[in-house]
Symmetry: C3
Subunit: 161 residues, 3 copies
């Protein structure tokens, strides 16, 4: 989809053009907050594939969930990240760059397809913010994530001062 | 306890009011340092549940250690983090915000209670710095941590320039 | 080796003195970039022990690979990090500090020697940048890494504005 979008379009207008409706921003599962800004950096908590504070996906990649389901779970976590960022900033148009994605996959011991799953988040962010704002990325396979969910996504945005 | 504390109290006076005595700051287990400041950000190395350079807790959550023991281990790691930050800054009153906690739990494959353990660190920091300085948080379950310890805590503080 | 080097030598001259030839900078395995700079911070993607976009090491520490092989794999990932940083900055002499190393080791459930493996990266960076620029460090044992590789290295550099 991204090919049809102009790099100069704003993130909010891209979201509209893509027909994406963000969910309600989530709330924390403990004594932390969802977003903290320091200077031009906006740090987000580890985002999970939840809907309305409930896990929408549970299980491990390579066993309980297919690659495609893992990608859907990560897309949901990325949508939750966008919702939290918009709530904090007022508008996603204040994002000047996606700095870093940390992608954590609960997977079996022989899982190898980390980049294909992680791309689900990277591709959504590319479509929303434009390919000129693409982030660095860290992806690892872990043994467990909160409440048995299969993916977790950490984001650092650069934002207008 | 935090309810009885004033958000404007300094971190050092809160520590005194809470009756908390910080341990001696730890030393690295290799060719790294415990704290690095860049601009207004103070990065800490992964803090472990050690006393005097020795592991105080060993084993995995969900098998060798109960949830409550995991919380005690993480509280100890958080106390070590405060000790390192104070050594670097001179006083914890120079902390203007806790930006990010990264919580790593060595746990069995069916462990699900990550937020309850991670809250042990978040609650200590809330009590010391006040609820207005609460951080974002990342928590994942990993297969192993250095020397077989059950928890590791990474911290980024925002500090006075 | 570091003892014979002057802390004031530049990183590029140290590399020459050490006889180190950096590899070609790698390319991403998905929809991300290898390096992003924001202000004085240069974030790198998780670097892998690859040569020419192919895994050079595969398997798990404690089972398929010895400690020494793990160190060799991490040294290769660290060389790839230096190559990417130089490509982004033009010269490694613009690095003013190594801020943080994140070391991720795919290892068996009884692996405990995380610091010894992680030191392979820390020692290379100390030799190249000098001991006065040593970073904080996070090291964890994970279940899997992309394409079955045994190590992954995340780096944040502080650079000239």
């Amino acid at each position: 989809m991204s090919e049809t979008l102009n790099n100069n379009d704003s993130a909010e207008s891209r979201l509209r053009d893509l027909g994406i409706q963000l969910p309600e921003p989530g709330s924390p599962f403990g004594a932390y907050v969802e977003a903290v800004q320091t200077g031009n950096l906006l740090f987000l908590s580890g985002m999970l594939p939840t809907e309305g504070h409930s896990p929408k996906f549970v299980g491990k990649l390579g066993k309980d969930l297919t690659l495609e389901q893992g990608r859907s779970a990560l897309t949901l976590a990325a949508m939750n990240a966008l919702a939290v960022a918009r709530e904090h900033l007022g508008t996603l148009d204040r994002v000047t760059r996606v700095i870093r994605l940390g992608v954590y996959l609960a997977a079996t011991d022989d899982f190898k397809e980390h980049p294909k799953v992680a791309d689900a988040a990277s591709e959504l962010f590319r479509d929303v913010f434009g390919s000129g704002k693409t982030s660095v990325r860290q992806v690892i396979g872990v043994s467990t994530l909160p409440f048995g969910m299969p993916v977790e996504l950490e984001v650092i945005f650069e934002v207008e001062g």
